[in-house]
């Protein structure tokens, strides 16, 4: 892969102290909420395969995909509001460190795209926010 150290979106979320869902085998599967719901902040990722592409020499293509990261479970008080905003700022600032995504061949770039402000849900009484990553990957490279 690209460098010596690699970082996935899930590893970035885990390093920020967010709880991720695991399947029964113990592998991280973050496209669903953790079951049971933890009493701590948790994250859900949702991929979306768009494919705007640019043709390179030799027929390789640069394509883009999106990952929506949702942060849930922050306490409904001011501390939860601040914590959610801080985690969101870390995700925005560290997006460029991500260089791996499962089932995608070669991530060349990861950019933080749009994000929502920190919002408070009345029904479940918690603060939550979302941020979207746009990942560029190299498709069809010969090596």
């Amino acid at each position: 892969m690209g460098g010596v150290q690699t970082l996935t979106v899930d590893q970035l979320l885990y390093s920020l102290g967010l709880v991720l869902n695991k399947d029964p085998a113990g592998n991280y599967l973050s496209n669903a909420p953790p079951n049971p719901l933890p009493g701590r902040p948790y994250a859900i990722t949702q991929g979306m395969n768009g494919s705007s592409e640019a043709l390179l020499h030799g027929g390789a293509q640069l394509r883009r995909t999106q990952v929506l990261i949702s942060l849930f479970g922050f306490t409904p008080d001011a501390a939860g509001f601040q914590s959610c905003g801080i985690v969101l700022a870390h995700l925005r600032a560290r997006a460029r460190e991500v260089d791996r995504l499962a089932t995608y061949p070669r991530i060349t770039e990861c950019q933080a795209a749009d994000e929502s402000p920190v919002m408070r849900d009345v029904a479940t009484n918690q603060h939550y926010a979302s941020i979207r990553y746009v990942l560029t990957y190299l498709q069809g490279a010969s090596t």
Binding site: P33, I44, Q46, M48, N49, G50, S51, S52, E53, R64, Q66, L68, S70, F72, G73, A113, D114, S116, M119, D121, A123, T124, Q126, Y128, A129, S130, R132
Partner: protein
């Protein structure tokens, strides 16, 4: 021979570019309208008129409020398309609330090669004539 600017040509090109922008924005709004006007292929929930969308699809039409808010309008010297006077579900589909799954409709459309193809074609049709 010195180069002098032709003010009539400049005005003609700017007018044509404004027409092309209008055509592209209206084509994008039409694209969004026809993709938000159909039922999905996911679950059929009681109380909702249509079948809901599966993950990865455009959101299915349920109340029609998001569909009715899709429009293209001039904004200064540009043309904007999207949800005007957006209902709450326009925001909630893009950024999910706890317990819900997102159905990104605007960011999905912006990454959609079909939308790009249609907008480029509409703008080219204006410039061609």
């Amino acid at each position: 021979m010195p180069w002098t600017e032709n003010p009539q040509l400049r005005a003609m090109l700017l007018a044509r570019a404004a027409l092309a922008g209008q055509a592209g924005a209206q084509e994008a709004a039409a694209f969004l309208r026809e993709h938000l006007n159909q039922p999905g292929s996911g679950n059929k929930w009681p109380g909702l008129p249509n079948t809901s969308s599966a993950p990865g699809e455009y959101p299915a039409k349920q109340s029609g409020k998001l569909l009715d808010s899709i429009d293209a309008q001039p904004m200064g010297q540009f043309w904007a398309f999207g949800s005007f006077n957006a209902p709450p579900e326009a925001w909630g589909l893009e950024y999910p609330a706890p317990g819900h799954t997102a159905r990104p409709w605007l960011s999905k459309a912006l990454a959609d090669p079909d939308l790009r193809e249609r907008v480029m074609h509409a703008m080219w049709e204006v410039f061609r004539h």
